[in-house]
Amino acid sequence: MTSTWLADGWTVTWRNMLKFRRSPDYVVFAVLQPIMFVLLFSQVYGGSIRVDGTNYTDYLMAGIFGQTVLFGATFSGFGMAQDLKDGIIDRFRTLPMSPSAVLVGRTNADLALNTISMVIMILTGLVVGWRFRGTVVEFLGGVALLLLFSYSFSWVMALLGMLVRSPEVINNAAFMVLFPLTFISNAFVQTQNLPGPLEAFANWNPVSALVQAARELFGNVGDAPVPDVFPMQHSVAMVVVGSALLLVVFVPLAVARYSRTTGR
């Protein structure tokens, strides 16, 4: 039945996309929230935060991208938990479909949602004066890298969603863990300005590596020296390897979990 995973995966993707279209929550997340973040951060902090060698709007955008794709991935956890709760997973599991299709459809749809957010953020960024200073290829590479990370992290969240089984818990946990994680990073400020322990944490924080990688590819780094820790020095490679590792570990785990899970 391995030949059906593509078709089945597409069917579930189609179903998830229909859901997106019909629930306003997703539209708010995918369209309004990115616009709001870009506008708030660039206009409110833009005048007060100084970054060496570049303007704050340029510096900021990679951070907002990173934050948005990170939170975007949590939709996969939320979606799996919700489907379990609604009993749809039980319906799927009695159908002769590929066992990976529900997860493939979930993560595909969430990738599509994140891609839409990205495009909207990019447009909003350009409107408020953001410019990427590298080549177009590097720019596209940066976008691809952010989406790759988001996709990989989606699988982690999908597994979590099946383990936790409560959409509310997933939402709260995402907020409690990911919010501090993005704020104690280089997403919105330069880490060398943070107090000692926070600076160390921020420099090793995977979110920092993600943001640093995007920032490098967008040519928005500025003059400040890159913190002398391995993940920051090799951020692009770290994100590629890290994302691949997440997939290698979590795709099989999530599929195995799915094959044994039942609602209620």
Binding site: A7, D8, V12, K19, D90, T94, L95, M97
Partner: protein, 320 residues
């Protein structure tokens, strides 16, 4: 060969502080074209049995076969020939009725065009036309249930599993759903359904398995099961509850078992071997004792009586 078979199924659920043996030596054999009803209270193991047979969970021990296929060894082959509808309508709120059914058809690998055509057919068949093009969100419980049931019939399944198909439905929807199920059965579909409604098993099932504590404690047709506890029941309703004790003594004299007295003190009931003569005698004595009656009659035992006799507790008040 039976089309649904289960032998010695065992399933224990463990949580931190306790173990629940949901199935404990569960055996079942259902012939093609029949309707088998699993009847039992909440927590008796009905849903677990269905979940094993529909490939959702693996038993700790025992073997289950559908159409000769070992459910544990080749679940995908089983999934290709069964339809199932769970206890809670598993429909997607944000999709329309048509889209829900199209999705299921596509996942049965009918192809998009055939899935769409079948979805339209089922919407028609289940009288859901006004609901076909609107998201399920706004539908009543009965409508959702029908969409879910339609989902179980997207292919013409060899075996249909229905887990408490009418739980939570209003009486009108329930009777409508019974009609749908009866039509399917008339067309030759083999059905396994679970229910905690005695009347439902009576209405739909040609063969009933009474389940308690994870195993089948009795099986047979509705009439056979009723026959097992034998005879009839004399039932009387008094005008005045003050006559209760006196009436009880009269019934005890004519009956063949313990007289049960309802809470109001006005409803009395006693099992008898043969109804009419006993009723006759009892009525004469009640009149002689000047006890006025609202109502009196003979009834055949219900499945509720069967359950009470077999398990010592009533089906509906059983704890989970």
């Amino acid at each position: 060969m039976p089309i649904i078979e289960a032998e010695g199924l065992r399933k224990t659920y463990r949580s931190k502080d306790r173990e629940v043996r949901a199935l404990d030596g569960f055996d079942l054999a259902a012939e093609q074209g029949t309707v088998t009803g699993l009847l039992g209270p909440n927590g008796a193991g009905k849903t677990t049995a269905v979940k094993v047979l529909t490939t959702l969970i693996r038993p700790d021990r025992g073997i289950a076969r559908v159409d000769g296929i070992d459910v544990g060894a080749d679940p995908q082959a089983v999934r290709r020939i069964i339809g199932s509808s769970g206890q809670f309508a598993a429909v997607d709120e944000n999709l329309t009725g048509l889209e829900n059914l199209e999705m299921v058809g596509r996942l049965y690998h009918l192809g998009i065009r055939a899935a769409r055509a079948r979805a339209a057919e089922l919407i028609e068949l289940f009288d859901l036309t006004e609901a076909g093009d609107r998201p399920v969100k706004g539908f009543s419980g009965g409508m959702r249930r029908r969409i879910d049931l339609a989902g179980a019939l997207v292919i013409h399944p060899k075996v249909l599993f229905l887990d408490e198909p009418t739980t939570g439905l209003d009486p009108r929807s329930r009777i409508a759903l019974w009609g749908v199920i009866k039509e399917l059965v008339a067309d030759g579909t083999t059905v396994l359904l679970t229910t905690q409604y005695l009347e439902e098993a009576d209405q739909l099932a040609s063969s009933i398995c009474v389940i308690d504590s994870g195993r089948v404690i009795a099986r047979g047709t509705s009439d056979e099961l009723k026959g097992r506890i034998g005879g009839h029941r004399i039932v009387i309703t008094l005008v005045d509850a003050a006559d209760s004790e006196q009436a009880r003594l009269v019934l005890a004299r004519h009956g063949d078992g313990e007289v049960s007295v309802g809470e109001s003190g006005r409803d009395l009931e006693v099992p008898v071997r043969s109804g009419a003569p006993a009723l006759h005698g009892a009525l004469a004595d009640l009149e002689a004792a000047d006890i006025r009656l609202h109502d009196a009659g003979v009834r055949r035992p219900t499945l509720d009586d069967v359950f009470l006799t077999l398990t010592g507790h009533r089906a509906e008040e059983a704890t989970t």
